[in-house]
Homo-oligomer: 188 residues x 2
DNA sequence: TATGACATGTAATCTGTTACATGATTAG
DNA sequence: CTAATCATGTAACAGATTACATGTCATA
């Protein structure tokens, strides 16, 4: 029994938490939206669903009420919901930033429906802290690159990466601000 | 003989093209820089080097001149250089953007030393075109998301992604401008 | 009745991760 | 001498890609 779940598994859990669906519907959602980063091939999605079911995180029920198709609708179990919530609310680490901002964003995308507004805000705060630690690190690495002679394109590419993290930080702060502003209006 | 080379392989080729190195040195470069996104574990790097050598893209020579260590120094063959140049100068596609800007950036980082200033500029132009096609697509997807009710966090996360591509486009244009400016000064 | 979309899978292959194993060299 | 670092690997396993296989349903 493997203990870690790959990003694709969490993406499936997140979608199923929002609305129980069949494997085919999930596949369509992946291929038609920008979630296609996490693979849209049947050879990835169906085995992933089988794994999640084997782990007790989702359960599939056969729909034969209206049509006769042996279509299976999967829904998240309470165990799955717990796992999903843990994945989302876990503090953002340096490693999370290094090996892909996209997974953090995926966690945030699902945060509100899984962990509520407060969970979303908490995640943003954690992300802000991690970025505030990471960005200066990148700047010092950049200075090192600038000091040694090397191809211009290498330096430019690195600068692009650094700016990407800076942009993420600004976005985080804007997102936090928008949540704060919303709070003033309605209570929830 | 597999026809496609994973990103790690190209990263290795690119580094070796800049300077012949041993597996250990390469590993250190990966783990100490932001290249660590492409794995820094020996279980990935050494097999990757073996594959590249089997494909005739690199060749290793045993250094026993000074120290007695059976350290192997790898260098890129002419076939490897051709392969690397093709990877870098191939036009940027929509798919390239979707499944990871980082690989495009890696291509650009090596472009100047492999394909010269003109190759770097060509790559940037191609990237600009691809982004100019892709960003409007994302905006229409964003409008669709905005129209249907859904969790705020989902929309915010998507907006972050779109802005990321917009940032990349701005960076591309700035990089191009910096190359243009440089041209005015010195000829090369 | 034949075509295409719906719907679900499997098999072969490749790559990466983790964890372990090995031996050489240098510093204390 | 022994501990740490240099340097190179292997083995077991998990997961993704590609391509293929299968069967259902609606429609022309």
């Amino acid at each position: 029994v493997p203990t870690t779940i790959p990003a694709l598994g969490y993406a499936l859990l997140g979608l199923l938490q929002q609305k129980p669906s069949s494997g085919y519907e999930l596949r369509k959602m992946f291929s038609s939206t920008s979630l296609r980063t996490y693979s849209d091939s049947p050879g990835a999605i169906y085995p992933a669903l089988q794994r999640l079911e084997k782990q007790g995180l989702i359960r599939g029920t056969i729909e034969d009420s209206s049509g006769l198709r042996r279509k299976q609708i999967f829904h998240v179990t309470s165990k799955g919901l717990t796992e999903l919530k843990q994945w989302i609310t876990r503090p953002v680490t340096r490693e999370d930033l290094i090996w892909g901002e996209s997974e953090v964003l995926l966690r945030f995308a699902f945060s509100e429906s899984v962990a509520g507004r407060s969970g979303a805000i908490e995640l943003l705060r954690s992300l802000e802290i991690a970025l505030n630690n990471h960005v200066p690190e990148l700047h010092s690495e950049l200075n090192q690159i600038r000091s040694i002679k090397g191809p211009t394109s290498g330096r430019l590419a690195f600068e692009c990466g650094v700016e990407g993290y800076e942009h993420l930080l600004h976005w985080t702060q804007r997102a936090l601000a928008s949540y704060e502003k919303e709070r003033k209006g309605a209570s929830s």
